[in-house]
Symmetry: C2
Subunit: 472 residues, 2 copies
C-alpha cells in the first residue's frame, strides 16, 4: 500500500487535488454537509467524519470519482445501507465516503431466466417484494432487510436464515458490474447460471468488503415463490439428538428444508424473557430447534412435514414439539429466534459473534467457549444459537452491568476458542476492522499472502477501503 | 508472460536446469517414457509429447516440481483424467506434464458436516460410490465419470446433468489445497459452508483450467441420497410451451426438480437412430423434454410427479408423455439424452459446442444458428439439445461425409451467432486452446484485462499452462 494513504499529513492537499481533477460529470455527486448516517455502520466503533461524501447516480460517476481518487491517492470507503457490524463501511479520516444510496432501482425481471437486474444501492426488502409480485422469490433474508443495500449484501457475501436451502449471496449473484479503483467499469452482467469462459471475476468481489472494487449493478438469481411453509419448534435432550434431527430433516424433508436453527438453553431463556415473545413449548429442554420447510403444495408437503415429525418422535430423537397451524404460527416461532434483535434493551450492551464450525463440534465449542468467557472476565456470560445446518454458530457475550464492556477480553476468549476448534472467526458478518486482528486465527499464512497478492493486483495504490479486512 | 516460455529455443537447457535443481523428494515422480495417454485430452487436437512427465504422490512433491519449474521457467501442464474437450490438459512442446493420477483416494467422510475430503486425482465415479455407501450423494455427474478426476472437475468447474438442482463444482467445493506456481502450498481446506474471512481464494482456482495453481486436495459438499427418482419424456408443440413447462416444473416440483433436458426434433431424430436407443413416445413432436425429479419418499413424491404431469396436460402445455414406472425406465429415458456419446459412430466426425444463453432465447438461437451453419458450409447440418433450465445449450455441427470437417468455418458460424445473442461460448467445457480465440465474444475487454491481472499476480513467470484460456 502507498505509505502516504495511512499518513494523515498531506490528506487535505490530496483531497484538494482530487476535487480539482474531478470531471463535471461527477461534480454533482458531492453531498455537503455529510449527514450523520454516513459517519458509521452498525458496529460499536465511534463515528468518523469523512473528508467528503459522494452519492453518485451512475456507474460512470462512480468511475470518474474513483479515477480521480486513485490519481490523487485519496482513500475511498464504499457505503451501502450501512448495516454492517464490523466497521467495513465506516469512513476513514481524510478519505472520502462513496455511498451508493442514490443508485437504487430494479432494471429488469426476466421471468424465463428467473433473474432480476438491480442497481447496487437497492434495499433488500424492495427486491424481495418485487420478486413476490411476479410470483417469484429472492431468497436472501436477514434482520436488516429494510435498510441494507443489495450491493452491501454482495460485498459482504450475506447469508441469513435460509442458506441451508438457497445458499449465500455468492450463490445468488449471476452477474455484476463493478468499478475498479482506477475507474475501469467491468461489465460482467451475465444472466447465465453456467458460464465457463475464463476466470469467474464476479466471485472476486463478492465478500471482499469493498476492498477490490465498487459493485454498481447485479444480476440476481430468483426462485419460484414457495407454495406453503411449515415450521416446528422441537425440544431435544442432548446435542447428539440435534445432529440426528438435522440428518433426519435432510433425508425426509429433502430440499424443502429451508431453515434449521438450534438454540442452546441459555439463549432460550433470555429470548423467552423478551416482552412479546411467547414460548411455544410447555417444558424446558436441553436443546431447542426451529425447523422450517418450504413446499410447493399444502396437500403434499403438509403431510410430509407431519410424517417427518412423527418419525422423529418414534425414533426418540425429539421429546416435544409445537407445530405451526398457520403462517402466523410460523412467524411466532421465528419470534423466539429473532428475539436477539431486542437484547440491546433487555440485556444491555453485549458483544455479538458469528463463528463457523463443523456441525458436529458445535456443542463442544459452546461448552468450551462458555467456560473461557466465564474465566476470562469475572461475571462473564455467554449464550449460543445459530444456523447449525450451515456450520454457523452465533453467540453473545457480556458482563451484566459492566460499563464499558470488557470487549477485548471477551474477543480474546471467544476467538482463542474458535482457533482451538479450527473454526472461522466470521461465518457471515465479515472482517471489517473489528475482526482484522483475528483473521489469522482462521486463515493460513499462505492464504493471507494470496489475498494480499490479489489486493495489490486489483488496487495497486491501496485506495479502496484501506485498513479493512487485510493490509496489502 | 516471460517471452522465453513460448520460444522453443533454449527449452532443453531450461529443462536440464530444472531437473538438476529438483530435490530428492521429487525425483521419483519422474515417469519415463511418457505413456501415450498423457499426450492428449479428449479434444480433436493432435497429440503432443511433453519434455517430461511427472506423476507426484503428494502436495509436497507437486510443490517441489513447481518451484523447480518456476525457477527454470519451464512450462507446466497439469493433468487430471484427461477427459477435457478443449485442449486444456494437452501437453506443450518443451514443457512438462504434471499428472495427478497417482494422488487418488478418499481421506475422510464427515457425516455430520456432510463433507468428503479427497485427493485431486480421484476419479469422480469412486467418489460417487463412496458417498452412496454412506447413504449420501455426491451430485456431480457427467459421461466421463469413470475416467475424469475430481481435480480436473474443479479446475474446469464441471457441470453436467443435475446443475439445476445441485449447482456446478463451484457450488460443491467447500475447501481446497492448491499449489501455486512458485511452490507455495495454500491450505484452504475448510469444511464450512459459511466462511466470510476475507477473499474466497478457492473460487479463483475453480474453473481456471490449471492456469493459476495446481489443485491437490478438495473438501466436497455431499447431499442426502435421494429416496426416489421419477422421470418423464414429454412431447410439446412449440418452444413457448417448453418454457411454460420449465416454469410449471419449478413451481410444482419445487426443489425436487433435478433435470430438465430439452431436445430439438433434429437431435431427437439422430438420437433415436442410435442402435439400442428406444423412442419412448409414439408420435414425433416439435420439442421433447426429459424431466427428472428426485424426492425423499415414493409415497409422497410419486403422486406429486403424477399430479404435476396431469396439470401440464390439463393446461395444454404437453401433448404426450411417457412416464417412468421404474428406475430402469428412468435409465432408458436418459438413454435418448446420452445417445450423443455414440454419435461419433453413427454420424461420423462432428464438432460439439456447449453454449450459454438465457433460457427464453434458446429456440431463436437454434433457428439462427442452424441457418448460419447451413449457409457457412455447403451441406452443413446441426442438431440442438441441452440443459435449458441452466441456460446451457449443446449443439453438434458437421458436414455429412466431409473429411476433414470444415472445423473453422463451423466454429465461426456458431460463435458469431452466440455473440449476436449475447451468449457464452462455453457454458461448461471451458476454453482451453480450442475456444481461446472466441473468448472475447463472451467477455468484455475489461473482464479480459482483469483476468490477465489475476494471472500475472498469481503466476508472474507464466509457467502454468501457458497459452491456455488467456495470454497474460
Amino acid at each position: 500500500m502507498d505509505g502516504g494513504i495511512s499518513n494523515p499529513a498531506g490528506t487535505a492537499e490530496r483531497l484538494a487535488q482530487m476535487l480539482a481533477a474531478l470531471p463535471d460529470l461527477a461534480r454533482d455527486a458531492l453531498v455537503d454537509p455529510v449527514p450523520p448516517r454516513n459517519l458509521n455502520d452498525w458496529s460499536a466503533l465511534p463515528p468518523e467524519t469523512p473528508a467528503a461524501l459522494f452519492c453518485p447516480r451512475s456507474a460512470e460517476q462512480v468511475a470518474a470519482i474513483l479515477a480521480a481518487a486513485n490519481a490523487a491517492r485519496v482513500p475511498v470507503v464504499p457505503q451501502g445501507g450501512l448495516t454492517g457490524l464490523c466497521g467495513g463501511a465506516r469512513p476513514i479520516a481524510g478519505g472520502i465516503a462513496l455511498s451508493l444510496e442514490k443508485m437504487t432501482g430494479i432494471e429488469e425481471i426476466d421471468e424465463a431466466s428467473a433473474t432480476m437486474t438491480v442497481l447496487a444501492g437497492t434495499p433488500l426488502e424492495l427486491i424481495q417484494r418485487a420478486a413476490a409480485e411476479r410470483g417469484l422469490f429472492f431468497s436472501l433474508d436477514l434482520g436488516a432487510r429494510g435498510s441494507c443495500a443489495i450491493g452491501g449484501n454482495a460485498g459482504t457475501n450475506a447469508g441469513g436464515n435460509r442458506v441451508i436451502r438457497y445458499g449465500m449471496m455468492r450463490d445468488l449473484v449471476l452477474g455484476a458490474e463493478v468499478v475498479l479503483p482506477d475507474g475501469t467499469i467491468v461489465n460482467a452482467l451475465s444472466k447465465l447460471i453456467k458460464n465457463n469462459t475464463g476466470y469467474d471475476v464476479r466471485q472476486l468481489f463478492i465478500g471482499s468488503e469493498g476492498t477490490l472494487g465498487v459493485i454498481t449493478r447485479l444480476v440476481l438469481k430468483l426462485h419460484p415463490a414457495p407454495g406453503c411453509t411449515h415450521a416446528a419448534i422441537c425440544g431435544l435432550s442432548d446435542y447428539d439428538k440435534v445432529v440426528d434431527l438435522l440428518r433426519g430433516a435432510r433425508r425426509k424433508l429433502g430440499p424443502t428444508l429451508s431453515a434449521f436453527e438450534a438454540m442452546w438453553p441459555d439463549y432460550w431463556e433470555v429470548a423467552c424473557a423478551v416482552p412479546g415473545v411467547r414460548d411455544p413449548l410447555e417444558a424446558r429442554h436441553a436443546h431447542t430447534v426451529l425447523i422450517e420447510a418450504q413446499g410447493t403444495d399444502e396437500a403434499i408437503d403438509g403431510p410430509r412435514f407431519m410424517a417427518f415429525l412423527e418419525a422423529m418422535f418414534e425414533e426418540g430423537i425429539i421429546e416435544d414439539a409445537a407445530i405451526s397451524q398457520s403462517l402466523s404460527d410460523v412467524q411466532a416461532f421465528w419470534g423466539v429466534r429473532d428475539a436477539c434483535a431486542e437484547f440491546k434493551t433487555t440485556l444491555g450492551p453485549h458483544h455479538a459473534y458469528d463463528v463457523g464450525l463443523p456441525t458436529g463440534q458445535m456443542d463442544g465449542f459452546a461448552r468450551a467457549c462458555r467456560a473461557a468467557v466465564a474465566e476470562a472476565v469475572p461475571g462473564g456470560r455467554s449464550v449460543y444459537y445459530g444456523h447449525i445446518g450451515d456450520g454457523n454458530l452465533h453467540l453473545l457475550a457480556w458482563v451484566p452491568g459492566a460499563a464499558p464492556q470488557p470487549g477485548e477480553a471477551l474477543d480474546e476468549a471467544v476467538y482463542a476458542t474458535v482457533r482451538a476448534f479450527g473454526g472461522s472467526v466470521s461465518a457471515e458478518h465479515g472482517i471489517g476492522t473489528t475482526k482484522k486482528k483475528y483473521l489469522e486465527f482462521s486463515r493460513s499464512p499462505e492464504e493471507l499472502d494470496l489475498m494480499r497478492r490479489v489486493k495489490r493486483a486489483l488496487d495497486p495504490n491501496g485506495i479502496l477501503n484501506p485498513g479493512k479486512v487485510i493490509d496489502a
